[in-house]
């Protein structure tokens, strides 16, 4: 029901742009472009969905993505194969997630503060490794993850990265709904006290959530590198906001316990559609930003209204 509403919202937004741009917007080529654009936000949104359901937040995602692109470029320059470079990139993501998770569970100062600090630190490390410059790397097949499909590849419908996002979302959905870890994660976000009382290891669950999210962010970093084909320590600044917005539009609640992987992906799609449509219409950036802000607010306000109305009905 709720997912249906989201899809409907996307269809409406898409239709509006299709009407405004009758010749170019609703073409298969453009749809492919939109999907390609959403790959990075999509990967990150899957990780963020876990974090937000667990009642936490991770602001370090944009910096981490930049760090991963730099690491991959450096490794490629050092003669490593794209496979090794990509895997190490994902590993860096997981390690960064471990750092976040350990700090959050040990320091008890809240994930907002911890990841605000690591947002700065990871960005700094990326700049340090890259000598504050972009790092060019030899051209390689990593770029096909997000590249436009050539006519002979049209049968794939989406580039490889797009299919990977969908596969990861399905896998994550299984973890969330069908495993002990997934249920403990929801319980932790919904009511940590209740979870603890029932014997759930709340800290370990939280730690694992951050590691998993880090792996997802590492994957987002690989996709970002695939788009850029270079390592850029300044890329993806502000990405955390689009990612959080995607999760929240998709039904995630910042008070924990709630969130939907499918919803987050549609949220990412909505964000990308607005951005793509806006730039194709030649709308200046500032207009797009205002529109995006309004859409996030209305999505959350609508949800809030739905929830409170539901409560009143129950009483």
């Amino acid at each position: 029901m709720k997912s249906a509403g989201l899809v409907a919202a996307w269809v409406v937004i898409f239709a509006v742009f299709a009407l405004l741009l009758p010749n170019s917007f609703a073409t298969s080529r453009n749809i492919e472009t939109i999907f390609r654009q959403m790959i990075i936000v999509g990967f990150a949104a899957i990780g963020m969905t876990f974090v937000i359901i667990s009642g936490a937040i991770d602001l370090s995602v944009g910096s981490l993505v930049a760090l991963v692109t730099v690491v991959i470029a450096k490794l490629l320059n050092a003669g490593q194969s794209p496979v090794v470079a990509g895997l190490v990139g994902i590993l860096v993501g997981g390690l960064a997630g471990l750092v976040n998770g350990v700090l959050v569970t040990k320091l008890k100062v809240g994930s907002f503060i911890v990841t605000l600090a690591t947002l700065l630190a990871f960005r700094g490390i990326a700049k340090g490794i890259a000598n504050e410059q972009s790092v060019t790397a030899p051209l390689n097949w990593l770029r096909y993850f997000t590249a436009a499909l050539s006519p002979s590849q049209k049968w794939m419908v989406l580039p490889l990265g797009g299919w990977l996002v969908i596969a990861l979302a399905v896998l994550s959905g299984f973890v969330l709904h069908r495993t002990v870890f997934g249920r403990h994660l929801v319980a932790t976000g919904s009511s940590p006290a209740t979870a603890k009382m029932c014997g759930v290891n709340v800290d370990r669950t939280q730690l694992l959530v951050f590691v998993l999210a880090g792996v997802c962010f590492g994957l987002a970093g690989v996709m970002q590198f695939s788009r850029l084909t270079i390592g850029d320590p300044t890329v993806a600044s502000g990405l955390e906001l689009s990612v959080i917005a995607a999760v929240v539009i998709g039904g995630g609640s910042l008070t924990g316990g709630e969130g939907s992987l499918f919803g987050s992906l549609i949220g990412a799609l909505i964000m990308t559609t607005i951005a793509t449509g806006g730039s194709q219409m030649g709308l200046p950036n500032w207009v797009q930003e205002i529109v995006t802000g309004v859409i996030i607010l209305s999505a959350v306000a609508l949800d809030r209204w739905r929830v409170t109305r539901g409560q009143d009905g129950a009483n």
């Binding site: 069908r178 249920r183 403990h184 976000g189 029932c198």
Partner: protein, 487 residues
């Protein structure tokens, strides 16, 4: 013998919460644990449930030593607590809540079907097959959530189930259903410990009762062989001290007149009339709706119905308007709401001063100093941080705020909670003095002695309604307790 407690002692800092408490709960009986607020019954319950460890004493369960170090250990040993604030996760289904922490799985993947059918079994055993195992708990009513928590106890094959004031958030009909359910548990040979201060509930559902007073077990009785009055006497016990100022007041014309007040949940229906120069007490047990009533009056909570008039004008529906009209409020929650502990005495005291846009720092400091002198607040000066004061001195500033803003009606919610005896007595004299100056005071207190020693009239609330009014000179703590508990 199912659960035996002997020689249990526990203190928090200098306060002794339990002193050599012993009692026995038999299999298949409902055993009430009764006592006034602060008598030690919650501490005892937390020990039984593994939340805190006793300093000394022995617990045994079916003859075996029982010393739980966490709620989980208690549950594994066969003791489950049904919380007053229900501990179910709203975002999990009924089945998932029943199995939270002990999920059945194969290599981490949930065995959903197995858990679902076991959950259905547990619910059926409780006579609640109406609750669907797949529904999210957030969509259940409070009473249904309680059933889910009890089903968790059934799933764990609990031998002892502790109920902590289980009717405090239930409606009348749900209470009946809960009693039926508890009788069912009893028939299955489960021992039930029922913590309450409602005498009528003890008489209805319990077989035996253990009464705690001032951290000590003052008696374990068979319910069939006793009367509510006898239990109330045990609970109240002590004589009224001489800590209260002698008074002989004759209050004047009405300053506040409210009728049929209704809030979101509580109060259900309350009338209140306050006279000039009067101290009006509100008595009631925890959760009777006293705080909700005054919060509605003061505009902190939404008023759903009724008329509120003060000084012959309708009262404002927001706190700032009420401060301006000369009505002041002291919250029961000093740390959370009453005071800003990170700010100075001056900042705290002069916060609500109405009608001034600009105030000079010098003026504010002088006013604070005046209050400090008047009430003998122990501090280094007006600039000291609130958090470094003792509870009693903090409370004097909270009340001083009402004097500073020239309140003519003072609403004091548990003004002596958690403060030392000396400060308590000083606050009693402050209240007495306010009435003498022609101010009117509404005083909420859980200490019946305070109400009887300070007030001209005491109104009694129970379950959101005003159920009566007494004149302290003609009443006793026991009578108040009986009225509050509904004996």
């Amino acid at each position: 013998m199912q659960l035996e407690v002997s020689g249990v002692c526990k203190s928090f800092g200098a306060t002794l919460a339990l002193n050599d408490v012993a009692f026995v709960v038999r299999a298949g009986e409902v055993h009430a644990l009764a006592g006034e607020n602060g008598s030690g019954k919650s501490t005892l319950m937390r020990i039984l449930h593994g939340e805190i460890l006793p300093e000394s004493g022995v617990l045994t369960l079916e003859g075996v030593r029982y010393a739980p170090r966490s709620p989980r250990e208690a549950m594994d040993a066969g003791v489950t607590l049904i919380h007053q604030e229900l501990a179910v996760s709203n975002h999990l289904t009924v089945t998932e809540n029943i199995f939270l922490g002990v999920e059945k799985h194969q290599r981490g993947v949930l065995s959903s079907r197995e858990m679902r059918s076991k959950a259905e079994e547990c619910l059926a055993q409780l006579g609640h097959s109406d609750i669907a195992p797949d529904i999210l708990c957030g969509r259940l009513s409070t009473a249904q959530k309680q059933v889910v928590e009890i089903a968790r106890a059934v799933r764990a094959d609990s031998k002892v189930v502790l109920f902590d004031e289980p009717t405090s958030s239930l409606g009348h009909k749900d209470v009946e259903a809960l009693f039926t359910l508890i009788r069912g548990l009893k028939q299955q040979g489960i021992a039930v410990v029922y913590i309450t201060h409602f005498l009528d509930e003890i008489m209805t559902i319990c077989d035996r009762v253990t009464v705690l007073r001032d951290s000590v077990n003052v008696g374990s009785l068979d319910v069939a062989a006793t009367t509510p009055t006898k239990i109330a006497t045990l609970m109240a016990g002590r004589e009224l001290g001489k800590v209260f100022p002698h008074f002989d007041r004759s209050p004047g014309e009405p300053v506040m007149d409210c009728s049929s007040i209704r809030g979101k949940k509580y109060p259900v229906n309350a009338d209140l009339r306050l006279l000039k120069g009067e101290v009006l007490g509100i008595a009631g047990l925890n959760g009777a709706g006293r705080t909700e009533l005054v919060r509605c009056l003061f505009g902190l909570d939404k008023l759903k119905g009724g008329t509120v008039v003060a000084f012959e004008k309708p009262m404002r529906s927001n706190p700032s308007g009420n401060w301006r009209s000369g009505i002041g409020f002291v919250s029961e929650d000093r740390k959370g709401e009453g005071l800003a502990s990170a700010l100075s005495l001056t900042e705290n005291l002069t916060l609500p001063r109405p009608g001034k846009v600009l105030v000079s720092a010098e003026d504010r400091r002088a006013r604070t100093q005046a209050i400090i002198d008047q009430f003998q607040v122990k501090c280094s000066g007006p600039g000291q941080k609130m958090s470094s004061l003792s509870g009693g001195n903090q409370q004097k500033i909270a009340i001083g705020r009402l004097v500073d803003s020239e309140s003519k009606i003072m609403i004091l919610d548990e003004p002596t909670r958690g403060i030392d005896v000396r400060s308590k007595s000083e606050i009693y004299h402050m209240i007495h003095k306010f009435a003498g100056e022609g101010r009117s005071v509404i005083l909420i207190s859980s200490q019946f002695g305070e109400l009887l020693g300070l007030c001209d009239r005491v109104m009694v609330m129970r379950r959101g309604e005003v159920v009566g009014e007494v004149l302290p000179k003609e009443s006793s703590e026991r009578e108040l307790l009986e009225m509050c508990a509904g004996a």
